[in-house]
Symmetry: C2
Subunit: 234 residues, 2 copies
DNA sequence: CCTGCTAACTGGTCGGACCAGTCATGAGCC
DNA sequence: GGCTCATGACTGGTCCGACCAGTTAGCAGG
């Protein structure tokens, strides 16, 4: 492990370690963790630090702490919320890859719907911003990482136009997950495969208030990306 | 149940209090919170408890803690993730109501897509479960609260069928938000307005592998609910 | 005016004490 | 035997007071 413990805080480091251990199944769901005092001795830190780490794990939704009883791994990881997703992705393997696909699938759904909404209600200045992003995405000498960032900006701008605050929050969560391991998506943005045509056509459709074309175009973009992704990881 | 937030833990109570204060703007974004020692004295608890509360706030994404520097409210609340949504909803007012609509809007999007996916790939046992839920939803003497719970089970079952793990996680977050203030949605399930017809027709369409009808039916269900909701809160 | 040291903050860690729930155990009773 | 319930050895929760470790503002000296 090259980056053994690149965290700063003791508590953070320990929380991170335990998180990995739990996600990787070293502690089965429902199983009890060692007591705080035990862990403190084990990691050679003060109990306060262990407590902080525990609180963090509880915050992730990974464990359930009960006063008097043992601290146990949450029964179903699915209850755990989204904070464990980076681990799932990084752990590679079957699950990681499938979640990766899921992420893109969801992104496609949201992209399509947002584009439809945008075609219905976008104001001129919002459209101008989209236009600008599509233009920059079309520049010939664009590096993959830049294209990726711009593509995501485009997504967020589209989401912002929908006016759905909740969706904005969700998309930020998605972005967090996404940019935790951006390199896994970089192949999608190689100059020889990435094509900004969808973006340009979608913007045109939004300008023309063509709801169906706007949605379908962005869905097509996401679908082709998903296909490519599945081919890359196969 | 009056307010007063009768939480159990000291740290939890304080974190809750501060969360409300921040969300309601008592501390502006970027502003520094009082130091841990000050807060400890102010709330008449030990600094450890304040620290735990702080860690929790940091976990919510509400504040940024810097060793040596002050603890400040995160610059943009939008970065704060979903944990603050219940506060936004409970705070009532303009924002609360609009987020409420957003929630239903998103739910409609996910419902429609999930139904489409289900029509493509549902296995017999999953369909049987949906069928059972639709049947129970059609019972004449159903109480609103029961209908609400069943409706949500239906939603989750549909989401499970899509096989998208990420979506499952998202829908759990949505459910958490939703059932934090279920009574706000109860009017939708009054016997005189709630109609399980959409559910039954959607299940039939899924059985028949009719992708379009399945999706449209659930979207229609969500749309009518949204209309009703906007009428109620108007 | 600027530089750089210093002192007074901030949060981070420590350890050790005690309070407060939980749970397995086993004595006592039916 | 099988049940009830006291009890003590766990568990986590809170407190104290000390010290370590960064940050920052202000002041002395250039």
């Amino acid at each position: 492990m090259s980056r053994a413990t690149p965290k700063k805080n003791v508590a953070e480091r320990i929380a991170s370690t335990l998180k990995s251990a739990i996600v990787r199944g070293r502690f089965q769901p429902g199983a009890a963790l060692p007591s705080e005092r035990e862990l403190a001795e084990q990691y050679d830190v003060n109990r306060s630090s262990i407590r902080e780490a525990m609180k963090r794990l509880e915050g992730w939704g990974l464990v359930t702490i009960r006063h008097g009883g043992a601290t146990r791994v949450t029964e179903f990881l699915l209850n755990a919320g989204l904070s464990v997703l980076p681990e799932l992705l990084e752990s590679g393997g079957q699950l990681g890859t499938s979640v990766l696909g899921d992420l893109h699938e969801l992104r496609g759904l949201l992209l399509g719907w947002s584009a439809e909404q945008a075609a219905r209600r976008a104001d001129p200045s919002s459209v101008a911003r989209l236009d600008e992003l599509a233009r920059r995405l079309s520049e010939p000498k664009l590096k993959p990482a830049e294209a990726q960032a711009l593509d995501y900006d485009f997504f967020e701008q589209l989401v912002a136009i929908t006016g759905n605050q909740l969706l904005v929050l969700f998309s930020r969560v998605v972005r967090d997950i996404y940019f935790r391991a951006p390199e896994r998506f970089l192949p999608l943005y190689r100059p020889d495969v990435f094509d900004a045509g969808h973006h340009r056509r979608a913007v045109a459709a939004i300008k023309a208030r063509d709801v169906k074309v706007a949605g379908d175009t962005m869905r097509a973009h996401a679908a082709s990306a998903l296909t490519l992704l599945r081919k890359e990881t196969a």
